[in-house]
C-alpha cells in the first residue's frame, strides 16, 4: 500500500468521534505529565497498560501516541518556566528558555517552542508516512540472523553511544537483559533465573520495572538529596510572538526538524544529541545583532531549534518501532510491550497484516499535532498552574499511582517488595550516573533477540558463523562494533595528534 492510499484509509478511521476522543485524551494527559516534574510518558503509558484489556488496539495506541507527543510539548513548559528539564530532550531548551523567562519573555519562548514542536511534529509525521513503507520493503528481506544483528546494533547504540559512559550504559543494558531472562524459557519450558520462587516463573513484569525505575527510584533519589525551599515558577505573560520573533524562529524550526528526524530514525534514537547539535548550529548561525543574547538574556533561536529537533527526533523513534519492532527509547519499549499484549508483533508484517491500525495511528499523529498546538497555546496558563502543585503532595501522589499500577498486576505483596528493591537499585543508578532507558530496552528487546538468535542457529543447523557469513548480518555487526569502539579509537587518535 502506498503512503497516499494508506493515509486516505487512516484519516477515514482517525476522524471518527471515538478515535478523536482518544487522541484528545492522550494529548491532554501527555501534556500534563510532560509538565509535571517527576513523571514522563514511559511511566504514564506503563501505568495505563491495563487499558489494553478493555479497549481495542487502535484506540489504545492513539491514546499512547497522544501521550508520547503531548509529553514532548509539555516538557518544554517545565524547562522554560521552572528551569528544571523533566527529560533529557528538553535540557537544552532550558538553557535559553529559562533565561528568556527570567527576562520577562516566557510567553514568546513558550510560543516558539509550541509552534516549533508543531512544525517538527508535522515534518516528522510526514517522514513516518513516506519513509515507513520504504523501511518495511527493506525489512521484509531480513532473516532471523539479520534481525539478531540489527538488535545487537540497537543494543550498542542505545547503551554505549549515548550518555556519559559506554561502560555504565552497557551495565544498565546487561541488567535489563538479566531481568528479561527471568521466568520460563519459551522454547524449552525450563525455568530460568527464578531462585526457585514460584512468583518469578511468569517473569518480571515490565510495568513493575518501569514504575520502579521512573517513579520509585526517582522519588527515593529526590528524598536523599531533599532540601527545603520551593522553586520559582516564572510568570507566563503574553504569549504573542512579535514580527521579529517569527522572523528569527522559522529557520531554526526547519533546521531543527531536519536535524532531529534522522537521529530518531537511526537505532541511536536519542534526543540529547540532535538537540545539542541544533543548539550549537543556531548559536553559530544567529544574526550578529542577536548573538549577544545567547547565554545572557536568552535567544529565541536557542529555544526554537532544539525544541523542533526534540520533537522531530521523537517522531523519528516511531519509524524503527513500527517498521522493525525495534524500540530505541524507554517509551517506545513500553509501547512495544503494549503491542505484545494484543498479540500483535510490530515489525515489517505490521504494515501488511494490520494496515488499518498502522495508518490510523499515523493519521492520528497529524491530528494530535494540531490538537496539541491548540491545547498548548491558549491553555498555557493552566499548564503553568499545574507546575505549582507542591512537591510533597506531588511525589506522595506519584507513589500512590506506582502502588496501584504494581499491586494491580497480581495483588501480590511480593511484587511490591520487588518494586521497592528495584527502586533502591534505580536510586543508586541515578546517583552513579547509570542510564535507565537501556534497562527497559534490554528487558523487552532481549527475549526477542534471543529468539531471533536461536531461530537463526536452527536454520544454520547450529553453525555460529551464520552471523558473519550472511552479508547483511555481517555489515550490521561491523557497524555495531564500529559504534562501540569507534569513538574511543577516534579519541585516542586525536589525543595523539594534539
Amino acid at each position: 500500500m502506498s503512503a497516499f492510499e494508506g493515509l486516505a484509509l487512516g484519516f477515514g478511521h482517525a476522524l471518527t468521534l471515538g478515535n478523536l476522543g482518544w487522541a484528545l485524551l492522550g494529548c491532554f494527559l501527555g501534556t500534563a505529565v510532560g509538565v509535571l516534574p517527576g513523571i514522563g510518558p514511559a511511566l504514564t503509558i506503563a501505568l495505563l497498560l491495563p487499558i489494553t484489556f478493555q479497549v481495542e488496539a487502535t484506540g489504545a495506541f492513539i491514546l499512547f501516541c497522544g501521550i508520547f507527543y503531548g509529553a514532548m510539548y509539555g516538557g518544554s513548559t517545565t524547562s522554560i518556566l521552572l528551569n528544571t528539564p523533566g527529560e533529557s530532550g528538553s535540557i537544552i531548551t532550558a538553557l535559553e528558555g529559562a533565561k528568556m523567562a527570567r527576562n520577562g519573555r516566557a510567553g514568546p519562548a513558550l510560543a516558539t517552542a509550541a509552534i516549533g514542536s508543531f512544525v517538527a511534529g508535522t515534518i516528522g509525521t510526514l517522514g513516518i508516512s513516506f519513509l515507513g513503507p520504504v523501511v518495511v520493503d527493506f525489512a521484509l528481506k531480513l532473516g532471523p540472523a539479520e534481525y539478531f544483528s540489527l538488535m545487537v546494533l540497537c543494543f550498542v547504540t542505545v547503551s554505549a553511544v549515548l550518555g556519559g559512559s559506554a561502560l555504565r550504559g552497557l551495565t544498565s543494558l546487561a541488567f535489563g537483559l538479566l531481568l528479561g531472562l527471568v521466568g520460563i524459557d519459551l522454547q524449552t519450558g525450563q525455568p530460568r533465573m527464578t531462585f526457585g520462587i514460584p512468583e518469578l516463573l511468569d517473569g518480571v513484569n515490565v510495568v513493575l520495572v518501569a514504575v520502579a525505575l521512573f517513579a520509585v527510584g526517582e522519588t527515593l533519589y529526590l528524598a536523599w538529596r531533599h532540601h527545603e525551599g520551593a522553586a520559582v515558577v516564572r510568570p507566563v505573560g503574553s504569549i504573542l510572538m512579535s514580527r521579529s520573533d517569527w522572523k528569527r524562529s522559522w529557520k531554526p524550526w526547519l533546521r531543527g526538524s531536519f536535524l532531529g528526524f534522522p537521529f530518531g530514525v537511526m537505532p541511536a534514537g536519542g534526543t540529547e544529541m540532535p538537540t545539542m547539535l541544533s543548539y550549537y548550529a543556531e548559536r553559530r548561525l544567529v544574526a550578529p545583532e542577536h548573538a549577544a543574547e545567547f547565554g545572557t538574556t536568552g535567544a529565541i533561536e536557542g529555544v526554537a531549534g532544539p525544541e523542533a529537533a526534540n520533537n522531530a527526533a521523537a517522531a523519528g523513534i516511531l519509524v524503527p518501532m513500527l517498521t522493525l519492532g525495534l524500540p530505541t527509547s524507554a517509551t517506545a519499549a513500553i509501547m512495544l510491550s503494549a503491542f505484545q499484549s494484543y498479540g500483535i508483533n510490530p515489525g515489517p508484517l505490521l504494515f501488511e497484516q494490520q494496515s488499518a491500525l498502522v495508518w490510523t495511528l499515523i493519521a492520528s499523529l497529524y491530528v494530535a499535532n494540531i490538537m496539541l498546538v491548540v491545547l498548548n497555546l491558549p491553555l498555557v496558563g493552566l499548564w503553568a498552574r499545574i507546575l505549582k502543585v507542591p512537591q510533597p503532595q506531588l511525589y506522595a501522589g506519584i507513589l500512590v499511582f506506582a502502588t496501584i499500577g504494581t499491586y494491580g498486576i497480581s495483588n501480590s505483596v511480593v511484587d511490591l517488595v520487588l518494586l521497592y528493591g528495584i527502586g533502591v537499585v534505580a536510586m543508586f543508578m541515578r546517583r552513579f550516573d547509570f542510564p535507565t532507558a537501556p534497562v527497559v530496552i534490554g528487558m523487552i528487546l532481549g527475549p526477542m533477540a534471543e529468539q531471533a538468535m536461536r531461530q537463526a542457529l536452527t536454520i544454520s543447523q547450529g553453525d555460529w558463523t551464520t552471523f558473519v557469513t550472511r552479508p547483511g548480518s555481517a555489515v550490521l555487526l561491523v557497524v555495531a562494533v564500529a559504534a562501540l569502539v569507534g569513538p574511543r579509537v577516534w579519541g585516542a587518535w586525536r589525543g595523539r595528534a594534539a
Binding site: Q54, T171, P191, T403, V413
Partner: protein, 168 residues
Amino acid sequence: MHELARADLKVGGFVLALGGLALWQATAIPVSPLYGQVGPKAVPYGVAAVLLALGAGLVAQALRGGWSHTLEEVQDAPPTNWRALALLGAGLLANIALIGPLGFSLAASVQFVLVAAAFGSRRLGRDAVLALVLTLAVWFGFVMLLGVNIGAGLLEGGILRLLGQELP
C-alpha cells in the same frame, strides 16, 4: 583512596556480585530434554559473562580514581537527608505491611502522608484527607475504568456496600 572513588568501587563490586548471581542461576537451569541447537542456558551464561566483565571494568575504573568526581550533580549535591529517606522508607514499608490486611486505599493513604512528610509537608491532617480522596478516586478509576483487578479492602468494601453494590 578518595571517598567518592571508594563508593564507585562498591558499585563495581555490586555489578560483579550480580554477575556471580547470574552465573549461579545459569548453572541451575535444568538441561532441556527437547532437542535444540541452542539450549536455554547459552544466553544466561552470556549475560552472566558480560556482567562479570563489566563489573571488572567498573572496578578497574574505580581503582584509577572512579567516575563520581566527574559528575556535576554529585559535586553540587546537598548532604544526605536522612530524615526524608527514613520517612519515605517508613511509608513504603507501611504500604507493604498494611495493603494485605487493610486494602489499597488505607495502606496507600498512610504511605501518602509519610511521603508528603518526607518532602517537608507539615499539615498532616490535610494530607490525610487529600490522601483518602485521591486513593479512593484512583482505586475506583483503575477498577471500574481500566478493569484492573484489585480486591476491595476495608474502606472500598464499606463504600461499595453503602452504594448497595456487590463486592467485586
